[in-house]
């Protein structure tokens, strides 16, 4: 009870961090925009045309998209960890992002050939299908292998297969769009505008609500299937929704930003440490915020470290995320 204030404090800090990082994202970049310009842009809707384009049309939507997609990844990872009772499960490591990537690449290449522009719904739909296929495969594997670590290995293998096929597609796709496709298949938040932000919000917000409504069943499921079922949980239905929501969340990310590594593992883990509890009702919103902070920070670094060139987002997230995984392994002394 005494750490209730502490937990509220943590939520406040995560909120503030998100806001601060969005603000910093507006300011920092390869083009130097004076601070007073940004303030006047935000407050008075005025300002110089070029600055306005850079800040309001490029940096602002990109930051918001990074925040929402980061939150989605963290949440997706959290759900997968709950599903497999495995702390290093995540959409990237289990090959689910790569499955989505492959499906999206396929749709893009096919539609480029026919000079069509696939809509957002098509992109997300394809990503969702790809994610579900990978997920289905991982679930099948989980029935064959009984070791957590082996499950992760088979997920990584699925990821490699999907990436290889995607590379193949990208290499053989003709067109000037290849460059674009190539960037996307490496993972990047660049080029996301307001129309993307709107669509992302429309997908992610309901999904977030759905996950939040599942916080009670998730807490029962933590005890294992037998106890969860004895508590009255409908396991089949619960698992179905868990798979659908986590696939949808990671599919949305992949459709817009390509595969982004490690956020799904690192963010929930860091947030759990920070909160000092694993109660789903607190973890779910905190994970979302934590993922947002994590991705905003990584995107800032991706944009600025080698400016004006950009690093792929996965390069940066891996730099922070992979050590987090190693830390979890060491802490658990390899017990899986």
């Amino acid at each position: 009870m005494e750490n209730k204030t502490y937990r509220y404090g943590m939520f406040l800090i995560l909120f503030l961090l998100t806001a601060v990082l969005v603000a910093v994202s507006l300011y920092v970049g390869s083009v130097r925009v004076p601070l007073e310009e940004i303030v006047s842009l935000l407050l008075k809707d005025g300002g110089d045309g070029v600055y306005k384009d850079i800040v309001m049309e490029i940096r602002f939507p990109r930051a918001l998209a990074a925040a929402m997609l980061g939150g989605s990844l963290a949440l997706s990872g959290y759900l997968l960890q709950a599903f497999f009772h495995n702390p290093i499960a995540g959409p990237f490591i289990l090959g689910i992002s790569s499955g989505a990537k492959l499906a999206v690449a396929l749709v893009l290449v096919l539609s480029l050939k026919k000079a069509l522009q696939p809509g957002f719904a098509g992109m997300i739909g394809a990503a969702f299908l790809g994610a579900m296929l990978s997920m289905g495969f991982v679930i099948l594997m989980s029935k064959v292998v009984d070791k957590m670590s082996m499950l992760i290995v088979s997920g990584i293998m699925i990821g490699y297969i999907c990436s290889a096929v995607t590379d193949f597609l990208v290499t053989f796709a003709e067109d000037e769009q290849i460059v674009n496709l190539h960037n996307w298949s490496m993972g990047s938040f660049s080029g996301l505008g307001w129309e993307h932000v709107a669509v992302i919000f429309l997908v992610v917000f309901p999904a977030f609500l759905g996950v939040f409504l599942m916080s009670k069943p998730i807490s029962a499921y933590e005890l294992g299937e037998l106890y969860a079922q004895n508590l009255g949980l409908n396991i089949r239905k619960f698992r179905f929704w868990l798979v659908v929501l986590s696939s949808l969340l990671s599919a949305c990310v992949t459709a817009f930003a390509g595969p982004v590594s490690f956020v799904g593992i690192a963010a929930p883990h860091l947030v759990r440490r920070l909160l000092g509890t694993a109660r789903p009702i607190l973890m779910i919103p905190a994970c979302f915020l934590g993922g947002a902070v994590f991705c905003l920070l990584c995107d800032l670094l991706a944009r600025t470290l080698l400016a004006p060139a950009e690093l792929s987002i996965s390069t940066v997230t891996a730099m922070f995320g992979a050590p987090a995984v190693i830390y979890i392994l060491v802490q658990r002394k390899g017990k899986f």
Binding site: S215, K216, S219, L226, Y227, N230, L231, L233, G276, T277
Partner: protein
């Protein structure tokens, strides 16, 4: 099985993937009773327990709770009536013992699982009942196996069940906690009318705690009944197919196999002084004979299972001369006689035993 039972099964067959493991199960218990399943490893105790909590679909037949078939009871209602403690090890992350116990309130809370004052009270009382209140705030992963098992019982109790199903709940407990654990179950069944179905490996404990026992053997329930009806001489050996050693139903003790070969030692024992010597000789691989023991002597059960031959006498009867003759004969064949009785001091000692001791002193290597 009729209506007088609170919980019973009717021609129940259980198993996995349509393959029956145990068939035609008819067990039942009244409110406030304790029913124990015993039987060899792999006999299907856990499978039966999983089927009566609807974790597994029965292959045939049905389970009835309070006159209603289990399949007709909603998941939520069932959760408020039956709770479980299974051997499946749970690994909840960053949960205190209290939080684990709180999960038992799941069937009673709303959409977000927020606990009411009443929920908190039930959780507190459940923890007090099994004496885990003092570790309430400790991390569940950090406590000992014994404590963990008690926390799981508190969790099951906080579900406020009418029937509690436990799969080998005492397996990882030391003797103190085994007794404590079972006495809590006994108290709850007597005082609160809680019905209990459990499986046990410890036959001595099963005999003591159970109102009814069901023995699983092969593909069927071999016997059901009160402990008196179950533990008849020789039955446990038969039920478990014991080939090495034996089990004494009257005292609830097990002994390792007796040593084969020509007896080398004769033990004059009695009143419990012989048993440790019998066991030592068994460990050292020395075949022995012993006597004279009345059938109601404390040493008799162990002697019967361990000695090559026991010179026995019927309970409360005078020693017959043939017994003395036989004992002397056996002593002669041995290289050594061990006497564990302190006979010299007592004046009212059975003269036949004194005679044996004198004989041994005169004719054998005597200790």
């Amino acid at each position: 099985m009729g209506e007088e039972f609170y919980f019973y099964t009717k021609t129940l067959s259980v198993g996995y993937h349509g393959v029956p493991l145990v068939e035609n199960i008819e067990i039942g218990l009244k409110k406030g009773q304790i029913l124990t399943l015993i039987g060899p490893n792999g006999a299907g105790k856990t499978t039966i327990l999983q089927s009566i909590i609807r974790q597994l679909e029965p292959l045939k037949g049905a389970v009835f709770l309070d006159g209603k078939e289990l399949g007709r009871i909603s998941a939520g209602e069932l959760a408020r009536r039956i709770s479980v403690v299974f051997t499946e090890r749970i690994r909840p992350e960053m949960m205190s013992c209290r939080q684990v116990v709180e999960t038992g309130r799941y069937p009673y809370t709303g959409r977000f699982g927020i606990l009411s004052d009443r929920d908190h009270r039930v959780v507190r009382e459940s923890m007090e009942l099994v004496k885990v209140s003092e570790i309430a705030e400790e991390a569940f992963e950090k406590i000992s196996d014994g404590q963990r098992q008690r926390v799981m019982l508190a969790r099951a109790l906080s579900q406020e069940p009418e029937l509690i199903v436990l799969d080998e709940p005492t397996s990882f407990l030391d003797i103190r906690h085994k007794l404590e654990f079972l006495s809590v179950l006994q108290r709850l069944s007597r005082e609160k009318g809680l019905s209990v179905v459990l499986s046990l490996h410890e036959l001595d404990l099963a005999e003591r705690i159970s109102d009814r026992i069901a023995c699983i053997r092969g593909d069927r329930i071999d016997r059901t009944g009160t402990p008196e009806e179950i533990f008849t001489p020789g039955y446990i050996r038969e039920l478990y197919g014991i080939v090495a050693g034996d089990y004494d139903e009257r005292t609830g003790t097990a002994e390792l196999p007796k040593q084969e070969g020509a007896p080398q030692v004769f033990v004059i024992g009695g009143n419990g002084t012989g048993t440790p010597v019998y066991r030592r000789l068994q460990r050292q691989g020395i075949p022995f004979t012993t006597g004279i023991l009345w059938e109601n002597d404390l040493d008799y059960p162990a002697a019967r299972l361990l000695a090559a031959e026991v010179v026995g006498e019927r309970a409360f009867c005078r020693v017959r001369t043939e017994a003395i003759r036989r004992a002397k004969e056996l002593m002669k064949g041995c290289r050594e006689v061990i006497c564990t009785l302190k006979a010299e001091t007592g004046g009212d000692f059975y003269p036949e035993l004194l005679e044996l001791i004198e004989y041994a002193r005169a004719n054998c290597v005597f200790h």
